[in-house]
């Protein structure tokens, strides 16, 4: 089996295999916590940390775990890591921890993480597994942040509200509120807004992909035609 290149891992994780937009895994936290940028970023970072650590650990032990028991072992590893991350957030980002609530322990059940452990980390060396965890995690976090930004901006007319929960008191001034008397558009903050927003993001990604495909095809056609044109 030929080893997958690092470049391929990066491109796949961030774009072609994006957890939020292509695999559609982990939709529960994706849809539930993205009411603001900061909530999305908080959960995104927690997921990145979990993915990198779990992929690394799973890859390290991949030759010592029997096939028959691998899934329970992976789940145990992921659960321990998530517990550690939960305690860390409880200690240092207490307010954010309270807002994200049940969705931090629920990272354990995020199928993207077990999926990466099973489909990638258990079959590749540590370096590639860690890189894959980082890229998949960043791709997921990017979707969380963009969706959070869309919903926060349309729903409450702000951006980066409550940034101090994540970045300390200095970030209090980061909040942007471009409209002075914005009355809010509640549906964007409520669950339906998450579905609308995610649907639009997926459509946008497909549109970009299709544009790129068409451009590549027309480029190829032109290159194939060129000698014929010169020949006549």
């Amino acid at each position: 089996m030929s080893e997958i290149s690092h470049r391929q891992i990066i491109v796949d994780g961030l774009w072609y295999n994006n957890t939020g937009l292509v695999q559609l895994l982990g939709l529960c936290p994706l849809l539930a916590v993205t009411s603001t940028v900061v909530n999305g970023l908080g959960l995104g970072l927690a997921t990145v940390a979990t993915l990198v650590t779990s992929n690394t650990v799973v890859s390290l032990i991949r030759n010592h775990v029997r096939q028959e028991v691998r899934v329970p072992v992976f789940v145990l590893i992921i659960a321990s890591i998530v517990t550690v991350i939960e305690l860390i957030m409880h200690a240092w980002f207490h307010e954010l921890y309270l807002i994200l609530g049940i969705f931090i322990p629920l990272i354990v059940t995020n199928c993207a993480i077990l999926g990466r452990a099973e489909a990638f980390a258990a079959k590749h060396d540590v370096g590639r597994a860690a890189l894959d965890g980082l890229m998949i995690g960043l791709g997921f976090a990017a979707v969380l942040v963009v969706l959070g930004a869309m919903r926060e901006f349309i729903g409450s007319g702000t951006l980066l509200a409550h940034a101090e929960l994540l970045f300390g008191d200095a970030a209090r001034a980061w909040e942007l509120a471009p409209f002075e008397h914005y009355r809010g558009f509640l549906v964007a903050v409520l669950p339906p807004g998450a579905f609308f927003g995610l649907g639009l993001l997926i459509a946008l990604k497909n549109l970009i992909d299709r544009r790129a495909e068409r451009r590549a095809a027309s480029l190829k056609a032109r290159m194939a035609n060129e000698p014929a044109v010169q020949g006549t």
């Binding site: 558009f185 509640l186 549906v187 964007a188 339906p192």
Partner: protein
Amino acid sequence: MEFRTTSSPFVADRTHVSRIMRQVLYALVPGTLATAWYFGPGVLISIVLCVAFALLLEGLMLRLRGRPLKPFLTDYSAVVTAWLLALCLPPLVPWWMLLIGVFFAIVVAKQLYGGLGYNPFNPAMIGYVVLLVSFPREVSQWLPPAPLAEHPLGLMDSLRVILTGSLPPELSWDAVTMATPLDVMKTGLKMDQTVSEIRENPLFGDFGGVGWEWIRNWLALGGLWLAFRRVIDWRIPVGVFLGMGLVATPFYLLNPDSFASPAFHVFSGGMILGAFFIATDPVTASTTPLGRLIYGMGIGILAWIIRTWGNYPDGIAFAVLLMNLAAPTIDYYTRPRVFGAGSQRKDGS
């Protein structure tokens, strides 16, 4: 010699989308005029605005999707959607809210799903629910009906309120607006008043609210005409009233102090408009005869449950959307048997 045979059906029906939609529009006229009579000309302005927005957005989306404009713009389906949305909303809703509602109705609920005939949800109700969920205060703020109105607004004043959001200087919102009968009933019951105490409020008439019930009568007249012309199937409205009556009557008979009468439920809120004009949307409703009855009853039962125990005073819009979701399943289980096929008769074996 060649005998050409075409497949059945052989009789071409004259019904066409634009013809059906036009008849729905005619049927809406008496109810609309009654609304304008009791609540001022604001409703006419919002209908004009909604229809204009709807045609504009429909045209824009058709162009984006590369579809021909003329057949879809002239089939009146967008006009019906916009008109129904405007009738559901209070008469003085600002223009930008109408635009948002029409946007969600036409662009999101209809065109993004593939246009007329492909939308799983009733577009007008999606637009209404998005507004109701996003701007609950504005959308539940009705005007007092004409017999109770101390400061009725004329055409120019209504136009100014809709376009600029500002009232004539000598008036405040509290003086111009009033809760709906359903709202008053809901708040009263929450404060442990009995139904008969609540009904002493001058807002209430014989069955529903003063003025409100007359608008409902005129709407029902249009609806009955539609059912008589076979534009809509009578089973859906009958199902809605049957379902509502089925749950409302026993509760009312057991405890008339804390449950409003079935007649009140029928004559207030969106019951009649919903039963005749919204639930009967041929695209989103069930299509089999038995299925339509079940579909209608589901709406009636759900609407009463939401009105009685839910957070919103009226539940018709939510009930219609929920049953839209259930319509394909209902159709699946109520398919009529094709004549001569799948006989129930056992052949002794």
